[in-house]
């Protein structure tokens, strides 16, 4: 006798802690195995691109904080970089160095959240607490320099809002010196854990060709062994002056995606140390008119954010408000391959795979 079976639908989210926000996946399941996965983004859509059209160029900056709110500094940077390109503004050297310092700090903070949240997704909540303990130091640093923890609005068109405050450099150095110890702790606590490895190794292997085809970027792409980091491949700002490596994965499985982030943190710390050593004196804001009115035209600029390539496209019609702003959000693009990645895996692996892409819903939905 045969038992009649059928596939069934399961909504993962939108209210589910392991979707890292309000993200919904409609899973078609055959028992416990995923047959089809349809991601449904948009629950956090605020229409930031449209809002930008009714704001002046400077007023868009606080809105970019709210894209990837785990690395607001990098989102600021992506936007101001595009407007600077549009206006042909030269940014003073000191401002560029400050940008690199705060940008890399934000990258470490974002990766710490990714690492900790991933450990929590797999079932080890302790890892989450440990990474957040160290992230707090970065939050303090960012609060010191910009006045806010998550939404710094620190960058301005042509430079940064304020100079480095007293005590920042010392505190930053102390954190950079401490970071290797913290990473060693994560390695002992999370990376080396047998259960964690069993859950992540050889799960959802992503080949390099496929990753390139789907235009994935950031740690997700590099975990598949593709050496493409904008900071090295097409250096912007002053990144060509620093010595650092681009960590690569070998297999492209969940473990590689997780581990590449840990290695990237070490490299970011290396960049910050060099930037602090080379930090020049000088102005922090270039020659920018008080009322920003870029000439008619358009510009597209890309930076390497913590999630991947963050591109900003700005069109100007010659007025004080941008005619159109578009953000290429890496989290959103990286999600494009989710269906293929989830197919054939068990429902428990869905959480592990989604966590390894490291999405931020503010960025996915914009």
């Amino acid at each position: 006798m045969t038992i009649k079976t059928e596939e069934f639908l399961l909504n993962l989210g939108p209210q589910h802690p392991s979707t890292h926000g309000v993200f919904r996946i409609i899973l078609t399941l055959d028992g416990e195995t995923v047959v089809k996965a349809v991601p449904v983004p948009g629950y956090l859509h605020r229409g930031i691109e449209k809002l930008a059209e009714s704001r002046t160029y400077t007023q868009v900056i606080p809105y970019t904080d709210r894209l990837d709110y785990l690395a607001g500094m990098l989102m600021n940077w992506g936007y101001v970089y595009a407007v600077e390109k549009l206006m042909n503004v030269e940014v003073p050297e000191r401002a560029e160095y400050i940008r690199v310092i705060v940008g890399e700090l934000a990258r470490i903070a974002s990766h710490l959240v990714a690492t900790g949240a991933y450990a929590a997704d797999i079932g080890g909540l302790t890892g989450f607490i440990y990474t957040f303990r160290d992230r707090e130091d970065i939050m303090d640093l960012l609060e010191m320099i910009s006045g806010a923890r998550l939404t710094p609005s620190y960058m301005r068109i042509g430079g940064v809002a304020a100079d480095i405050p007293d005590g920042f450099i010392e505190k930053c150095r102390r954190f950079i010196d401490y970071l290797p110890d913290a990473i060693e702790e994560y390695n002992g606590l999370i990376t080396g854990n047998e259960i964690f490895q069993a859950r992540t190794k050889n799960v959802a292997v992503l080949s390099a060709e496929k990753a390139i085809d789907m235009s994935l970027s950031g740690p997700v792409l590099r975990a598949s062994g593709v050496n493409y980091d904008l900071r090295k491949a097409r250096p912007y700002s002053v990144y060509d002056r620093f010595e650092f490596e681009v960590p690569l994965g070998t297999k492209g499985d969940c473990f590689d995606r997780y581990y590449v982030r840990l290695l990237e943190m070490e490299q970011s710390a290396k960049i910050i140390r060099q930037a602090l050593d080379q930090l020049p004196e000088g102005p922090i804001k270039g020659k920018v008119p008080k009322v920003i009115k870029p000439p008619k035209g358009e510009a597209y600029a890309e930076i390497e954010s913590s999630k991947g390539i963050m591109g900003t496209y700005v069109v100007s019609d010659g007025s004080t408000n941008p005619y159109r702003v578009h953000f290429r959000r890496p989290s959103f693009v990286n999600l494009g391959y989710l269906d293929e990645m989830l197919k054939g895996w068990k429902i428990a692996d869905v959480i592990a795979i989604l966590g390894s892409i490291d999405i931020v819903l503010g960025e996915v939905d914009a």
Binding site: Q59, V60, P62
Partner: protein
């Protein structure tokens, strides 16, 4: 077999003997940096009603109304609708007189929605300012009158000299 697991447990065990990193919040508080954006503060006497903060705000949070007394602007209303505030600090940056500043007070929750809006300007402040301007204008007028009188007194003398 479970070497990594035991190592991890060892790390957590070590932390039993290390100082705590958390703070008992309402009683104990960590110091806030000077640049912190908390509850906004408005300095009535510093404000010159230039509208820079109103135009700098991305969300049009600030409502500023003025009245002209003796050709001078008097701020009669400065409402800060905090619920729409992004705490980006663009208004503070735009202000040429440091009339708006963000304090370190971050406990901004209220029980009722109407309480969120901050109305900075009190009626008596406006009255006082108006009085001051009127007084200043009167004093100025008196001074000018005195000056004119002096000049007038000097003038006939001058005219007399020229005429001779």
């Amino acid at each position: 077999m479970a070497k990594g697991l035991i190592k991890g447990l060892g790390i957590t065990l070590k932390h039993f003997f290390k100082p705590k990193v958390t703070v008992q919040y309402p009683e104990q508080r960590l110091p806030l940096p000077d640049r912190f954006y908390g509850k906004p503060e408005f300095y009535y006497d510093k404000c010159i009603a230039c509208n820079m903060c109103v135009n700098a705000c991305p969300n049009r949070v600030i409502k500023l109304e003025t009245e002209t007394v003796d050709k001078k602007k008097v701020v009669t209303k400065y409402d800060f609708d905090q619920q729409y505030c992004l705490f980006c600090g663009l208004c503070e940056e735009a202000c040429p007189k440091d009339a708006i500043k963000f304090s370190k007070d971050f406990e901004l929750t209220r029980y009722n929605r109407p309480d969120i809006k901050i109305e900075f300007v009190q009626p008596d402040q406006v009255e006082r300012k108006k009085e001051e301007i009127k007084k200043a204008a009167a004093a100025k007028a008196a001074a000018e009158a005195a000056k004119a009188k002096e000049q007038e007194e000097q003038k006939p003398a001058d005219a007399g000299e020229e005429g001779s």
